[in-house]
Symmetry: C2
DNA sequence: AATATAAATAAGAATCATTCTTATATAGGA
DNA sequence: TCCTATATAAGAATGATTCTTATTTATATT
């Protein structure tokens, strides 16, 4: 049948994928996630559209973990936790970024602030658990 | 004469360079800065030692700007401003990272927080100035 | 001093995430 | 239909970083 237009089908799928997950995927992760449903998707298309979304403000790169950029389709500024063990990037939605911070940064820097990133690194809940269960043999 | 030991001479020079600047240099920038005084310095040595310092807690990567890691020899947690135009990474030393943030993050995440990064992106003071001087011809 | 061992380094190769190039396909307008 | 724009696939190119190998240097031991 194929009555529906094909235009932007892949672009839309990439954006939808990004907005449907909180795992803050890399380009490869988006590609791997969509490939089963879109067998003729190419990695270059993922990269190209992610960069487009970034320019349009529909997505942003929230971290670079082990040399790999991690994207977020949630454009509301929020806090992240990055696990040094399993490379997970986790939202801390309960936390607020103090509103005064940005204006303070603007006056301190003398420049124009466009964005604010607040993130914590360490060992995430599951990795803490795993280590406890195993027990330390030191 | 060359009475002084040569051991760690390059390692020390790299650490000293990192600690003497606030420009948050990349490995290439450290290499370029030291090459005149140490003509037989190799880029691999810079990378290797920067990673060593990172493991030892003597330095950290505070940002990845345009795919390039930027290092900091100042181990006191502090705030950074990253310019999207000139790629400068600037300290905002006057700003404090609210002490409560880290403990809140730890309880919210359920994990163990090792570090906190707070940074602002936008247009730095000099880039704002340049654009004003030139005037917009739109 | 001679030897052995271990760490530091230079040089360049290898890796790998990302970007770029080219050709093809598709949509919309004249 | 013809023309122009954009989207895409495929794979090549780029470039930051890491790895490998051989060499050098320091230290400990004789």
């Amino acid at each position: 049948m194929e009555a529906v237009t094909k235009q932007f089908r892949k672009r839309n799928a990439i954006l939808a994928y990004l907005q449907s997950t909180t795992e803050h995927p890399s380009a490869e992760m988006v590609f791997a996630g969509l490939k089963p449903q879109i067998p003729d998707l190419s990695l270059g298309t993922v990269y190209r559209n992610l960069n487009l979304f970034r320019k349009q403000g529909l997505a942003s790169c929230v971290a670079t973990v082990n040399g790999v950029e991690r994207f977020d389709g949630n454009t509301n500024p929020h806090v992240h936790f990055i696990c040094n063990e399993c490379d997970a990037v986790i939202d801390l939605m309960e936390m607020q970024i103090p509103a005064t911070l940005t204006s303070t940064a603007e006056s301190c820097s003398g420049g124009q602030v466009a964005d604010c990133q607040l993130s914590f690194t360490g060992k995430c809940r599951s990795c803490v658990r795993v280590n406890q269960k195993g027990g330390e043999t030191a």
